[in-house]
Structure formats: C-alpha cells, structure tokens
Symmetry: C2
Subunit: 268 residues, 2 copies
C-alpha cells in the first residue's frame, strides 16, 4: 500500500475521506503486469475529482506509482482512493487542502468460470437508489446505499438496483445493459448510479461496430422483455445474465460478441 | 485522540469508514469538564448503529473513555465515530466485523455572541437533499451533500437545505424550527436529513411546557410566514434566525423561552 507515494497502511482520523466520505476512488485490474485501461481510469478519476472540487493527483506521479505496484503485483486488483485531505472541524472544504491519495492491492477475485460463459443470477434489491444529480455518475466514497444493497444480495452473483421512481439503474457493483432487436440500451445515470469505465468501453466498442445505442430511462418490464441482459465492471469484465426472477435467458450471442470486441480492444 | 480505547490518530486504509463511509458519528460538547447530554447521545448512537447493522460499542466502556477525555479537555467539542471496522474487498459487510470507535477532540468554536442574542443570517442552498428513507435521520459518514452545501454557504452563519421536492428539511449542520401562533413546527425527517439530539431535546422541553408540536412537511413559504425561526445543534445550542432572503425577524421571544427551558434542563 502507498499513501501519498510512501509505503504505509494508515491515514489520519482527520482525513475528510473518513469524516465525510469526501473523496473518490477507482478499482482497476492488473493482468500480466499490465494495468488495464489506466488512461480511461485516470480520465474518470480526474472527472470525478473535478465534480467535487478536489485537486486530482498528477498523471505522471500516479503512473510511476502504478508501474511499481504492477511490477510487484502482476495479477491483482488495485484500488486508488483520492480524498480531499485533512480538515479542521466542519463540513466546508478549505481551498488549500492537500488531497490524500491511497493505493491498495487485493488478490484477483475467484469468480466461477461459468459466470462469464453461462451467465449469472441477478436479483432485485429492495433498496431503491435516491436521486442526487450533483453526485450522480461519480464513484465517490459515500457508498452506504451500495453497502445496504450488497448486504441484501450477498447470496447471488449480483443485485439489481432501481431508483426511487422504479427505473432500472445499475447492479450493486456493475453497470447494466439490455439488448433489444440488436440495439444496445443502458440506463441514464444523471440522477443516481455510478458510470463505470467499462460501461464507457462497451459503448465505444458498440458504436465503432455500428450498433445503435440508447442511454435513457429503463423500466423494469423492459428488462424482463429484453433479448439479452448483461453486466459490466472493470474487474470481472462482462457477465451475461441468465436468471432474473422467473425470467431465463440462454442466448448470449450479443453479449459474447461485445466481450470479443472488448478483448480485441484490450490487445489492440 | 483514542482509537478503540488506545491513544492514536490513524486508522487502517481498509477501514470501511474510509472505504464506504460505513459508519456513524456524534458531536458533543464538554463544558466545565461535563459531557453534555451524553445519555441522549449514546441512545442516538445506538439507534444509528442499529439502523446500519453495526454493533454499537458498550455504554460503560465509552463512559470510561469519555470521562478521561472530559477531564483532560474540560471545555471542548468531542467527536465520536463508530465504523463497521475492517473489510476485505467488496461492499457486503461481513457479520463478524469488529467495529472501530474513534474519539477526537477540537477546541470550542468561537461564534460571535450576537448569534445567540440577535440571531443569524440563514441562506438558501442551491443543493437539494435527495430522498433515501433507509438512511434518513441517521448521522452517518456519507456526508457529501453536507460538504457541497457547506461550500455554498461558507460566508453565512448557516445554510438552509430543501429536499428534491422543495420541502424545508434542515440547516447544513443544524435542525430548523418554526413558530406559528405559539405552536412549534419542525420538518419531518423520514426521507432525508439528520435528526439531532438537540432537536429531540427541544421537542421534549416544549411538550413538557404544554406547547403544541407538529412534525410534518414544511413548505418554503411557511418559513417566510413564520413568527419565528430558529436553529439547533449540540454545539451552538439554539440560534434564532434574524435574516432569510428579504425576510427580517426581530422578535425572538419564543426562541429565548425555549433556550431558557433547555438551559434549565441542562442543570436540572
């Protein structure tokens, strides 16, 4: 683990990351010593920092740290947290705050191979995501909704989250896509949800292949009616959904085609 | 500072308080070596821990720590944070997690004496609180809305927060009360907002004095029309509002009466 570039595994109890969840994070994969899609992760980190008015750490400094970590842990999951830094008492951020950035390393998760090939069970969470347009899309440290939802769905591969209006938003730790008549549909995340880097990659690949894409409100009955449903995140990549409530899917041809595009672009 | 009863000022970067804001906190005043309203704070801490499924630290252990801190810092603001503790990767809480509890000490804030006597300026924040009934009322560590709101209102005594429906909810770091024809009105906090200990105390005192109390949705135009408006929290106690937009108030007689009740119950 590195804290502001130095080896360490603790932070001050006055860090605003702890006090208020005042920060953002990234989770990325290292495969064969190569960090996957780092430039996209940095772009998203910078975007999220800017949305909260946090000074994003410099690209070159992070690359140097990332390079050392990837050499030491060639197959791992890296987490990068950026907080607004230390604070006196009070919610108001001080403009001169020096951000804290933290790298942590975890082993690759051991998901059953069947998840990617035969699909996963998705279950509807009872928790509904609240609307907060000022924080929507950002991968910030205020993740209590995710914690409560994950607690509900700990016994299935993934939980599905609706918002307070009943629209389909995302998985607990993934983004969700629907295929309808060969078109790609993914929920609008302007009121809640986290817009992942892998979600962007799917849309870029699909667009390059001439697929029609809609980013819009998605009703739950559309999910049941979809030709295919799949989930994405930066660690597991892409999982087709095989079970949701009484609905079963067995044809994952679009999901598999899109995964092939993503893998080609990984090595391209 | 104490971490799990031991002197210290850092926590693990794998503490869920940092990773997800997965915890709750209390801010309380120590005056002349006496922690103010500790039993109420503990009751609220326990309630908030239970709402998140976090094991609340034992009363007696906290009292022993609090006693030492109050002796060492007889006039101070104490902050007590309880997080769900350490975590492996992933949002889902593990049942066997050992909570982390943290005490921090800050000097008394130096508010102008006029705030309590001549009232304060309240300004409407642009940020609207999102609805999340599962977290409403809880003083948890997911405080980005408070941070964004405080950044907007750093140049006035307090900012007023509405919810996404335009209802009056609270101040950035306080609860809000209206007086109408001698009745006390305070916003319903079942969809968003933080229910402070001082808010409870005001309602208990007012009820004991035979005042009629309504806890309900409050419209912004009711605030403009109120005979008096005042703010409460555990550190500053009670501040009447003198200015809000074009509205001026100069009669604070109900607010002053309620403050007198609170002070009598402090020493009773």
């Amino acid at each position: 683990m590195l804290i502001n570039g130095e080896p360490g595994n603790t932070i001050s109890i006055r860090d605003r990351g702890l006090l208020y969840g005042d920060g953002v994070f990234r989770t990325l994969l290292v495969s064969n010593g190569q960090p996957q899609h780092w430039p996209l992760h940095y772009q998203k980190l910078k975007h999220d920092c800017e949305a909260l008015g946090i000074a994003c750490p410099d690209f070159d400094g992070l690359v140097a740290e990332l390079s050392g970590l990837s050499d030491a842990h060639p197959d791992a999951v890296l987490k990068l947290i950026v907080t607004r830094g230390l604070s006196a008492r009070g919610y108001a951020p001080v403009p001169q705050a020096m951000p804290t950035h933290i790298w942590d390393v975890a082993p690759l998760p051991e998901y059953p191979e069947s998840y990617a090939l035969q699909g996963v069970t998705l279950r509807l969470c009872e928790l509904r995501l609240g609307h907060q347009p000022r924080l929507a899309g950002i991968k910030h440290l205020n993740r209590l909704e995710s914690v409560l939802a994950a607690a509900e769905c700990a016994d299935v591969a993934e939980g599905l989250l609706l918002d307070s209006d009943g629209h389909v938003i995302e998985g607990v730790r993934s983004n969700v896509f629907l295929i309808f008549n060969g078109h790609l549909i993914t929920p609008d995340l302007s009121r809640c949800g986290v817009a992942g880097v892998q979600r962007d990659r799917v849309m870029v690949c699909a667009r390059q292949q001439g697929m029609r894409i809609e980013v819009r409100d998605v009703e739950l009955n559309e999910l049941f009616a979809a030709d295919e449903v799949f989930l994405t995140n930066s660690v597991f990549g892409l999982w087709p959904v095989s079970h949701f409530g009484q609905r079963r899917w067995t044809d994952f041809s679009h999901a598999q085609k899109i995964r092939a595009w993503l893998e080609r672009s990984d090595h391209g």
